[in-house]
């Protein structure tokens, strides 16, 4: 006979305000099988958990139902409490009377009735719960890090320093990411490259890090502790083993007018190139789109054209015939650190975004974005660190900075705050003033959001020490008028219209996830939000985990992040990964499918629908040992517990532990007592 204990939580006032907890306790006390029912103000607190433990011990409970918040919040907590009292943790379930009841209803009677129903449903379920034992699976102590920006670099180094091997995959020809493009960084104004490049070299030289640059993840199979990653090494046209990074090919290349991605289009590069001198690895890549030889081939010219780089290379490393190749790596965990892209504010916009045609970006040469300003200000940039405007190369005397371009503007498709723009705009005004002493920096802003250590002080310094002029208001239009760029804005503090004749305008555009993030997320079976940022498993308590076990996230692929946050997240993922690798075997929730081999007829409908290939074929033998049939069996290490096999099994010969047909039937049945 079931002996169920019911524990009703007030959650302070969160539940008790709309749910009559005393009535819930009383009603559920008389439910068949319930032997104990009580309420408490904070069931998740230590004394609350102690009540659960005490009741289990005193009443010899066979099941526990905690009527409180979402199982996503505290299922682990209460299962842990049950386990401490000697009850199998899987005999404990939560009835969600907070998120699904008290918080969404105001009528006390209705909410209480519903809370009772929810309690009954879970009580009936728990009656059919069975003790489950944790599954143990082996772990490959090797991590895959996707993305070689600062987050990926940090994660890779921390994991490798912790003793595990790392496979780092970077889609560009060099690691370094956006941070390598920056001139100085807030709030300390230290040189970005100076702090970053040593870390990049460290990656290259680390004995436990294997770097695949100019590569992308092709597919990922397997499950936590036992992934198999297939990596596409894109054709670089350069033999990585032969190249010594001398740069002769680059010098020989006749196509030299290609806009440099590293310089955000402001500087130029050759067709075979390394993006910047400190690139890691220092191996060039041939840009086949812009290479004269390949252009000619595409036009149908059969004769080999150019070939200067090949001639120049003394090592014979240039290989025009090279094709994409694939390598597979066995790993036990994955860190996603794919970072961000800047919102492109030109006319062509992805679906759902509107762009800022009225700001003239792309039409007016002296309207640039934040990253372009970084390259103008960078000592390694095309101007050698001198601030010169793109149209005529003169130092601009008046520069207007516009914040929140794209961010916080639901009308344009991006309602969120990009978080770093307030800080980098302040930084830009300072960099500008330090280089153009008589220049005037005008900033249009909505609010100044400078939460962070030393951040508010930093923006104040820009205003107070470096004289940046902050105008609170939005810019309605930017256009070219002769030699100047006219900026029409509105000062909401004075209530006056503002028109500025600027020499240059810098737009602080929003942060967006990298293109292709959705495809990557699908390969990894992880979810992403409406903007494409990867969803964390829990916004507060599991910020660097995803809902797919063994896949972690760091940096701006999860949300707009600045460098310190990205690094902190990266180190956090490293801690998670190293924690995962700390044992030889991994413990997994036993909520996996199980085949009843007596009734299975081996039609393998389950195999057809299983997304993980967890279904195996097993011979069944008669008493004399002759094979008399084939049935399905679930590999519990591979099964992730979706239960699709159960729904398609015609005879219901497979069950999903924790969500068995008996349990679900009992829940539906319980609702028959409305």
């Amino acid at each position: 006979m079931a002996r169920i204990g019911v524990f009703v939580c007030h959650c302070g006032e969160n539940i008790a305000r709309t749910v009559d907890c005393a009535r819930v306790v009383e009603e559920l006390k008389s439910h068949p099988g319930v032997v104990h029912s009580e309420d408490y103000k904070y069931m998740c607190s230590d004394p609350g958990q102690a009540l659960v433990r005490k009741a289990i011990e005193e009443n010899d409970l066979t099941g526990v139902v905690v009527c409180a918040c979402s199982p996503h919040m505290h299922e682990k907590t209460f299962r842990g409490a049950a386990a401490k009292a000697g009850l199998n943790p899987f005999l404990c379930e939560m009835a969600n009377i907070r998120e699904h009841c008290s918080w969404i209803h105001e009528d006390r009677g209705e909410a209480t009735d519903k809370a009772i129903d929810i309690g009954r449903t879970i009580i009936e379920k728990v009656k059919h719960n069975v003790p489950l034992e944790t599954i143990r699976i082996p772990v490959t102590k090797r991590a895959l890090v996707i993305g070689g920006g600062i987050a990926g670099i940090q994660a890779a180094l921390d994991i490798a320093d912790g003793g595990a091997e790392v496979v780092l995959v970077e889609k560009e020809s060099s690691i370094g990411g956006h941070m390598s493009q920056l001139s100085e960084t807030f709030p300390t104004l230290d040189c970005s490259q100076c702090i970053l490049t040593p870390r990049m070299v460290e990656v290259l030289q680390h004995p436990r890090i294997k770097l695949h640059s100019y590569s992308e993840l092709e597919s990922l199979e397997g499950y936590i502790g036992n992934f198999k990653a297939t990596i596409r090494k894109k054709a670089r046209s350069v033999d990585e083993d032969l190249c010594n990074g001398c740069g002769d090919c680059q010098a020989a290349c006749p196509s030299r007018k290609i806009p440099s991605e590293f310089d955000a289009g402001i500087g130029k590069r050759s067709a075979i190139y390394v993006p910047f001198p400190q690139a890691v690895p220092n191996i060039p890549v041939l840009d086949r789109v812009n290479c004269t030889r390949f252009k000619a081939k595409r036009k149908g010219i059969e004769k080999d054209v150019c070939g200067k780089c090949q001639e120049a290379c003394l090592k014979g490393a240039i290989d025009y015939e090279q094709e994409d190749s694939f390598v597979t790596e066995d790993v036990g965990a994955v860190v996603v650190a794919t970072g961000f892209q800047l919102y492109s504010i030109g006319r062509d916009q992805p679906a759902g975004l509107k762009g800022y045609g009225e700001y003239g970006y792309g039409d007016v040469p002296d309207v640039i974005d934040g990253m372009q300003f970084e390259r103008l200000a960078s000592a390694s940039g095309p101007t050698g660190g001198e601030i010169l405007r793109p149209s005529d190369g003169k130092p601009p005397k008046t520069v207007v900075f516009v914040q929140c371009v794209g961010s916080r503007d639901p009308e344009k498709g991006i309602p969120y705050c990009s978080k770093i723009c307030c800080m980098y705009t302040a930084k830009h005004t300072m960099l500008y003033k330090h280089k153009v002493h008589d220049g005037k920096a005008i900033v249009f802003y909505m609010d100044i959001r400078a939460g962070g250590k030393g951040y508010d002080e930093f923006t104040r310094r820009a205003i107070e020490d470096d004289g940046a002029q902050y105008v609170r208001g939005r810019v309605s239009r930017i256009y070219r008028d002769g030699d100047v760029v006219k900026v029409w804005g509105f000062d909401t503090l004075s209530g006056e219209q503002v028109v500025v004749d600027a020499d240059m305008v810098v737009l602080a555009t929003a942060m967006r996830p990298q293109p292709g993030i959705a495809e990557l997320a699908q390969k990894l079976s992880i979810s992403y939000d409406e903007h494409g940022f990867i969803n964390e498993a829990h916004p507060k308590l599991r910020p660097v985990e995803t809902n797919t076990a063994g896949v972690f996230i760091a940096g701006a692929c999860q949300a707009p992040r600045d460098i310190p946050e990205s690094v902190a997240m990266a180190s956090a993922t490293a801690a998670k990964v190293l924690g995962l690798f700390s044992a030889d075997e991994l413990e997994r929730e036993p909520t996996v499918a199980l085949v009843n081999e007596q009734t299975c007829i081996g039609c393998f409908s389950c195999e057809q629908v299983c997304p993980y290939g967890a279904i195996e074929h097993v011979d069944v033998c008669d008493v004399e040992g002759h094979v008399c049939g084939v049935v399905a069996r679930v590999n519990p290490g591979v099964c992730q517990g979706c239960g699709t096999c159960v729904a398609v099994c015609p005879s219901k010969s497979v069950e999903l532990q924790g969500f068995t047909d008996e349990q679900i039937y009992a829940e539906i049945n319980a609702l028959g007592s409305w």
Binding site: S605, V648, P650, S651, D661
Partner: protein, 290 residues
């Protein structure tokens, strides 16, 4: 006929087959025959009264048939589709059965009817048949036969039902399903109902009540239809077996049309083509989903 009998004799005499399953003359018309000795081969017949889907006897959970040895089965086009279903669902391997295809020009509704095909007697399933000559065979016998008279009665009745309101359809089906005694003849007669333990016989939990009240009957017939969606070959054996005359073919045919409309799938005798349920396309229709 001679071709079929000679082949049967040879298969049995050479020991290639332990039993040839075909049709013979019974007191109430054609009926399944199990020929195990060459001498009995002359019992075999084939004409328009041979309505039975003999693929049913290939169900691996019929030990009394298995005991007769390797079967050779006479199949019409629609029967071959059922064999393909069994192959697709791993209930049979191709080397464990000999398939004797017969060219078919339609059958009558019940084996007791005269063999002459008229618009009134032709089975509804023969309308629009796309496999007059089965391809999934080891031997093919008989001459090509003329197309049977056309009767779209089934599709017409479905269209009539579709035109009614849900409430009217509900009245129609409650009056039909009230008759069901839950003998499960429909299941037993179906060549693709091959579970060891049918879901309706599962008692823990009892999703489908075994009682033959309308509640249990609705659960059963909804489930039977759903489980056969995309698998049913439309042979009509369920309806023919039903002792109380429930028009089950209406439901099966309706779902054939639905599956065609939703997934562009038509049941085939090619076992390599996967069934639509269990597969998916990323851009499947989903207008019904909010």
């Amino acid at each position: 006929m001679k071709e079929l009998r000679d082949l049967t004799r040879k298969l049995l005499a050479d020991g290639d087959a332990g039993v040839v399953i075909g049709w013979e003359e019974g007191r109430r018309g054609a009926r399944p025959a199990f020929i195990t000795t060459p001498d009995d081969a002359d019992k075999l017949i084939f004409d328009a009264r041979c309505v039975h889907n003999l693929a049913n006897y290939l169900n691996p959970r019929k030990p009394q048939v298995k005991a007769l040895g390797k079967p050779a089965v006479v199949v019409k086009g629609c029967d071959a589709k059922a064999v393909a279903g069994l192959l697709r669902e791993a209930q049979l391997t191709r080397d464990r059965v000999i398939l004797i295809g017969v060219r078919c020009g339609g059958v009558v509704q019940t084996p007791e009817m005269p063999a002459e095909l008229t618009e009134a007697t032709v089975a509804t399933r023969c309308y629009g048949c796309d496999v007059r000559e089965p391809k999934l065979v080891d031997h093919l016998v008989g001459d090509a036969r003329p197309e049977p008279p056309v009767t779209a009665a089934l599709d017409r009745r479905i269209a009539e039902l579709d035109a009614l309101s849900p409430r009217e359809r509900w009245q129609f089906w409650t009056s039909q399903l009230a008759k069901c005694t839950r003998c499960h003849a429909c299941r037993q007669a179906c060549p693709l109902c091959h579970c060891e333990r049918c879901i309706t016989d599962k008692t823990q939990p009892q999703w489908i009540e075994s009682s033959s009240h309308l509640r249990g009957n609705f659960a059963w017939h909804l489930t039977r239809a759903q489980h056969l969606a995309g698998r049913c070959v439309g042979c009509g054996e369920c309806e023919r077996a039903c002792p109380v005359g429930i028009p089950l073919s209406l439901i099966n045919r309706k779902l054939q049309l639905v599956v065609k409309d939703l997934f562009d799938y038509t049941v085939t005798d090619d076992p390599e083509v996967p069934a639509p349920i269990g597969a998916y396309a990323v851009d499947d229709k989903q207008e019904f989903i909010e």
